[in-house]
Amino acid sequence: MTAARPRLAVFKFASCDGCQLTLLDCEDELLALAGSVEITHFLEASSAVLAGPYDLSLVEGSITTAEDRERIRDVRRQSRRLVSIGACATAGGIQALRNMADVTEFTRAVYARPEYISTLATSTAIADHVPVDFELRGCPINRSQLLQVIASFLLGATPALPSSSVCVECKRRGTPCVMVTQGIPCLGPVTHAGCGALCPAYNRGCYGCFGPADTAATAALIPRLRQLRMADDAIVRTFHTFNAAAPAFRDVSTGVGERPA
């Protein structure tokens, strides 16, 4: 007889489904993983839904409705460990652009019958509502980082993932700096590692989809982006995309406003 396996659950809030799909994208590991954990609640993968408590809950998506604000509390109560996965869950996602706009106007712009829609004025991260044991970054998250996080929690350890910038990953990968060698604007110096420095390897500047690095000196990057002929409104838009509400990116609009004399 084997001992009871740890119980894994996956929950979705406002999101595109891509981060939970990442778990199903672990094609080589999925069946082995399903042997080491009991998948108890994963609606995208199974119509069998088992009641909590859960040993590890992965939470995708941001909080944008009053019901979801209550539901996340319930998920937290039932979860021994809770990991928020992806830019929506860790920073509010692209839908957090509403935080800087008028959500009533947004609703009228999209829906013929705005009265059918109930939504909060903001899109916020899971950690703004309940304590979170670990935040896994990315839009979308990285597959091998997800496996590391699950494996760590199964062993009772806290995941050790680099919190440095994308620049470190470019160096490790041997990609010549696109900003230095080609003058391509790049958010790599202030963006959280984890993707493996994909964009520069594709001859493109990083666009910040993993959100700010822990020590992001965003203000120091802005003059360099200006030198590369990025207009101020383009700089603000670039930061205000998939992690618009992460403070180090959100406050760029203030930084851009403060031009040196």
Partner: protein
């Protein structure tokens, strides 16, 4: 149980679909009073937040509408913006776009066929449970899915939300060597997809025929993925993408954050069944043979058999991918220059789950003034509810739990993507 009673089956959330929805069926004296596919995905307001962004941004931004079919969003977005700028991207760059799309079709269809849909026919809650008794089948499905992801990684840089797509083409071209490395696995995959067709055509599908019209892109001489010509299987529609909104009507219903589409007052269906009905004559050779052996005929109107058509389309993806790689000559540049101008552009492409329409209105400097996106699942929602009403009426003698399960299974047949379905249309279109 008395037949005079009103029965309401208010289901738990539907499993094995992308995004979250719930089904509500009301029967009155044994007859179906109402059926609602309730979509409670919270709205994310993409069409509103696209306003004021640069014309170069929609491929990255709209990819985030759906993690299951980001390539579809990128392809329709690029086509619409290039159209607004008076451009068409053809030749080798268009072929690479098709190759990228082959990856998404293969990944998405393998996911749906093996992990979401097959468990219904074999009596399991999901693929993990199914693997206990059908391990080699599930492993074949996972390997097909992995190849789909690999194609997207090689061409697109990443499987979910590819980074290498831009208006005008790509940031970097794949080398012939990188593409060549896919061929060995593609040869295996073509055989595996054919084995899939044989496997699923042996499943017992309930007898049910949809009475909707079928709408898809049509490309001369090819099974469609990119293009501009939108057709109906009945022959009653043959239009350019630019006229799409003039023919499709949208309405917003109380029980859903998705909008319903209809055409000429009736329900219509997009997706694999529609593509097959309109373009079966253009199937590549092996897929055509497998379709014939599976007894598909010229048209398939049974949603429960869509799993067979999706499996045939996995073969299409493999054959197309090999054809493109075989003839690959690197284009001169990774992208063509697309200069902004004031105007309106329309773009369509075939997402794995059906036709996806984008429309953008640009200012002279390329700033987006308005955006309209019509995803496949919002187009299918009215047809799905229409079918559910008929299906529930034909099966109203079943007890509540069985009826609810059967109806849920019917919903899964359309491969609904509920995350996408919450992103909608403009007000003026709704009131048309």
């Amino acid at each position: 149980m008395t037949h005079s009673a009103t029965r309401t089956i208010d289901g738990t959330p539907i499993g094995r679909v992308e995004g979250e929805g719930r089904l509500r069926i009301e029967l009155h004296a044994g007859a179906v009073a109402s059926v609602e596919l309730r979509i409670f995905e919270p709205p994310r307001f993409f069409e509103a937040l696209l306003r004021g962004r640069a014309y170069t941004e929609p491929p990255d931004i709209t990819a985030r509408i759906c993690g299951i079919c980001p390539v579809a969003y990128q392809m329709s977005a690029c086509a619409a913006i290039e159209d607004a700028c008076g451009m068409t991207v053809g030749g080798g760059l268009a072929e690479l776009r098709r190759l990228l799309y082959c990856g998404e079709w293969l990944e998405s269809h393998a996911l749906h066929v093996y992990m979401l849909h097959a468990p219904d026919f074999l009596g399991y809650d999901g693929a993990v449970a199914m693997a206990r008794d059908h391990r080699s089948d599930v492993e074949r499905g996972l390997r097909l899915k992995r190849l789909g992801n690999r194609i997207m990684e090689v061409v697109g840089g990443r499987a979910i939300h590819p980074v290498n797509v831009r208006v005008g083409g790509f940031y970097r071209l794949p080398t012939a060597g990188e593409l060549g490395e896919l061929v060995h696995e593609l040869r295996w995959a073509l055989g595996a997809a054919m084995a899939t067709v044989e496997w699923v055509s042996g499943f017992r599908a309930p007898a049910f025929e949809g009475d909707w019209d079928l709408i898809a892109l049509a490309e001369p001489g090819a099974y469609p993925s990119l293009g501009r010509s939108v057709q109906a299987s009945s022959g009653r529609l043959d239009i350019d993408a630019a006229d799409f909104l003039a023919h499709v009507h949208e309405r917003h219903v109380a029980h859903s954050t998705a909008l319903h589409s209809s055409w000429a007052g009736g329900e219509y269906l997009v997706g694999a069944l529609a593509r097959y009905a309109i373009s079966h004559a253009a199937l590549p050779p092996q897929a055509a043979m497998a379709a014939r052996d599976a007894g598909l005929g010229e048209m398939c109107r049974n949603p429960f058999q869509s799993i067979v058509v999706r499996s045939v389309e996995m073969m299409v993806a493999c054959e197309e991918a090999m054809r493109i790689i075989d003839g690959y000559e690197a284009p001169r540049t990774p992208s063509v220059q697309v200069a902004p101008r004031a105007g309106v552009g329309h773009g369509v492409s075939e997402a794995p789950r059906g036709l996806l329409y984008h429309r953008y209105e640009l200012a002279a400097d390329g700033t987006i003034a308005s955006a309209t996106i019509v995803p496949p699942t919002s187009q299918n929602q009215a047809a799905i509810e229409h079918d559910l009403r008929r299906f529930a009426a034909e099966n109203s003698g079943l007890d509540d739990a069985t009826l609810a399960t059967r109806c849920e299974q019917l919903v899964r047949c359309y491969d609904p993507c509920i995350s996408c379905a919450t992103h909608f249309l403009d007000v003026q279109v709704l009131r048309r």
